[in-house]
């Protein structure tokens, strides 16, 4: 239960809860104390880190492949008229079976105030799918804007490294404000206002039906991310992330932090889209020997890739012993 409440808190935009000393389990306390008394050998760790760096793209490659295959499947299906995956990310049919993006379906339902059976079927299907697969997994494994944004992030980090740009943070609660306002706007105006600026929908349609002027908006958002604020859209604006995040709070597929071997060097937090979810990797903060990463996590696997000590892993809750 505390996983769900902590997930919802973080999705809302609150900072991760700072644990009291009394909350930390004796086992975790023992490890914290051991690490304090036995400092890591920095040189050996650095060597370890270098050695790990070679195979640090495993999950990224799998994820990019998945994202490209799904999005290209839409295109191929339409282009060759094979009716495998029709529509766009907002709503589609996979071999004839309805699927509807949860956030788009929500916006349409709020604006239209009516849900036809096909939409109910499509929404329920996608809900169950992402319930099993981890909710915000949609963001990093499917959303085509995420990929563009990742490349913009690379550029941003390169320029920041050169001292040419600076990352300016926003208050993460502003995303919840957007969520509320866009929901209210849909309800009150009767139009799906968010869809006008939804870069996910725009990029998905551009890929399938050909790009148009709306891609200029996407370009502007990307420029904003490169020159002003790292990953700003996904971190501070997009309500789709909250919708799937809430689903993910109930999902058994999570990233798990294992305290024992962690050097607390923070590589994972530097790579992460939503670094607040990795707060427990800060020295002394983990309350148990194993802690699940909250549902604001997109399960992108960047931390799993980058972690030199294999302290972050994918897990399926309840299946751990059988994997």
């Amino acid at each position: 239960m505390s996983y769900i409440t902590e997930s919802l808190r973080q999705l809302y935009g609150s900072e991760p809860r700072r644990p009291e000393k009394a909350e930390i389990s004796p086992e975790a306390q023992a490890i914290h104390l051991f690490k304090k008394q036995n400092p890591f050998d920095a040189i050996a760790f650095e060597a370890h880190r270098q050695a790990h760096a070679k195979d640090a793209k495993k999950w990224r490659n799998r994820r990019w492949a998945t994202l490209l295959v799904i999005n290209l499947l839409f295109l191929v299906s339409y282009y060759f008229d094979i009716q495998l995956l029709e529509g766009a990310l907002t709503a589609s049919r996979f071999m004839g079976f309805h699927m509807a993006d949860l956030n788009s379906a929500l916006q349409v339902t709020l604006a239209f105030k009516h849900m036809v059976l096909n939409l109910v079927i499509g929404t329920a299907t996608i809900f169950v799918l992402w319930l099993l697969l981890g909710g915000r997994t949609f963001c990093s494994w499917v959303c085509p804007y995420h990929l563009l944004s990742e490349w913009a992030e690379k550029l941003h980090l390169y320029l920041a490294d050169k001292g040419l740009v600076k990352d300016r943070s926003f208050n993460r609660k502003v995303r919840s404000l957007f969520y509320l306002i866009f929901a209210l706007l849909a309800l009150l105006s009767g139009y799906t206002v968010f869809e006008t600026i939804s870069v996910t929908g725009i990029v998905s349609r551009a890929l399938i039906y050909g790009p148009g002027v709306a891609m200029i908006w996407v370009g502007l958002v990307l420029l904003f991310e490169v020159f002003y604020s790292r990953r700003a859209w996904c971190r501070y604006v997009c309500p789709i992330g909250i919708t799937y995040g809430v689903v993910g709070a109930l999902s058994p597929l999570r990233v798990k932090f294992v305290l024992k071997d962690c050097h607390h060097e923070g590589d994972c937090r530097k790579a992460c889209l939503v670094p607040h979810v990795l707060d427990m990797t800060v020295k002394g903060k983990a309350v148990h020997t194993e802690v699940d990463v909250s549902a604001d996590c997109t399960r992108c696997g960047m931390c799993v890739d980058v972690c030199p000590t294999n302290s972050l892993r994918f897990e399926i809750k309840g299946l751990g012993k059988h994997l």
């Binding site: 700072r18 644990p19 009291e20 930390i24 914290h32 339409y78 029709e86 529509g87 766009a88 907002t90 709503a91 589609s92 049919r93 309805h98 509807a100 349409v108 604006a111 239209f112 009516h114 036809v116 096909n118 939409l119 990352d167 300016r168 943070s169 926003f170 208050n171 502003v174 404000l177 957007f178 306002i181 706007l185 105006s189 009767g190 139009y191 799906t192 206002v193 968010f194 869809e195 006008t196 600026i197 929908g201 725009i202 349609r205 039906y209 148009g212 002027v213 709306a214 200029i216 790292r230 501070y236 604006v237 923070g266 937090r269 530097k270 707060d279 800060v282 020295k283 002394g284 903060k285």
Partner: protein
């Protein structure tokens, strides 16, 4: 920024809420201002998208079954999830998705009849069946049940029939990309209009290619066949056969006393736009209006 500064004492006392130094306070203040600006900017930009729809600038010829009245598309725009499944199933590629200049109407399907009209080649209203949200309402079963727009003879002087002229050649020239279904060529696959030259003594393209008129003629033939062969032909249901004619050439007497033929739009017209598409002159003599003219037929809602 992304990483919180690590406090020296990893487990601070309950009551000891961290005091922020002036620099942190200033950072927080700036972050608050930035966040407010972001909120105002994003919401503002998305609200600008409401302007075109509120001003009614998004009105367009929509696919059959669109949940709208001629002047009010708000339900249609609200219900559309902007996925383009209607685009994908259309056999003549008549349906396009609107651009960002339509604001909140972005991604909503429309038809540019002059470029490519819906000629109901699919027979079964595939776009309606494909629509996942009911923006194209399932209430209609046959083309004759739909009401897309209103045909109007906008430029009578351009009309070849009124001029008493015939038509020979490709209706829209050799470079025209549009396609139509010609039953006598291929019952199942539409072909380019440019591949189907005409040779008409009097131009009646708008009547000849009208999907409703074509269907009425087919029904008449089938009816005749049934008369001969009563037991073998299946019974028809509903509006499979259009109940009313859509367009006809009717005789008129012009001011100079010459008898001519003029296309007249009738009650059965659904406003699909094939007449506008096929009309040879530029601009076309006959067009589709989105709004109903006062002196026209009553709408089917």
């Amino acid at each position: 920024m992304n990483e919180q500064s690590k406090p020296k004492n990893p487990a601070p006392k309950k009551s000891a809420r961290r005091k922020l130094n002036p620099k942190q306070l200033e950072q927080n203040r700036r972050e608050f201002l930035r966040s407010s600006a972001l909120a105002v900017g994003m919401i503002g930009f998305s609200l600008v998208g409401l302007l075109p729809v509120v001003q009614g600038k998004t009105l367009a010829l929509r696919p059959p079954g669109a949940l709208k009245t001629p002047a009010d598309e708000s339900d249609f725009l609200a219900a559309c999830i902007k996925c383009g499944q209607c685009v994908q199933v259309c056999p003549v590629n008549a349906i396009k998705l609107a651009e960002l200049d339509k604001g909140a109407g972005i991604g909503v399907p429309y038809i540019d009849a002059r470029a490519q009209a819906c000629d109901f080649s699919c027979d079964g209203l595939q776009c309606v069946l494909a629509c996942p949200t009911g923006a194209l309402t399932h209430d209609l079963d046959y083309p004759a049940d739909s009401r897309m727009g209103y045909a109007r003879l906008a430029e009578p002087r351009k009309c070849l029939a009124i001029q008493g002229k015939g038509f020979k050649g490709q209706a829209r020239g050799p470079d025209y990309q549009g396609i139509l279904r010609y039953d006598d060529v291929d019952r199942w696959n539409p072909i380019p209009v440019a591949d189907y030259p005409y040779d008409l003594e009097l131009c009646d393209l708008c009547v000849r290619q009208c999907p409703i008129e074509i269907r009425i003629a087919q029904c008449a033939e089938e009816e005749a066949a049934r008369e001969q062969n009563k037991d073998r032909v299946a019974q028809r249901q509903g509006n499979e056969c259009p109940p009313k004619h859509a367009i006809a050439l009717e005789p008129i007497v012009s001011e100079d006393g010459i008898r001519r033929m003029k296309p007249v739009i009738l009650d059965g017209c659904v406003g699909c736009g094939v007449c506008e598409m096929i009309c040879p002159p530029e601009p076309p003599a006959i067009v589709i209006d989105i709004l109903q003219d006062a002196d026209h037929i009553g709408g089917v809602s």
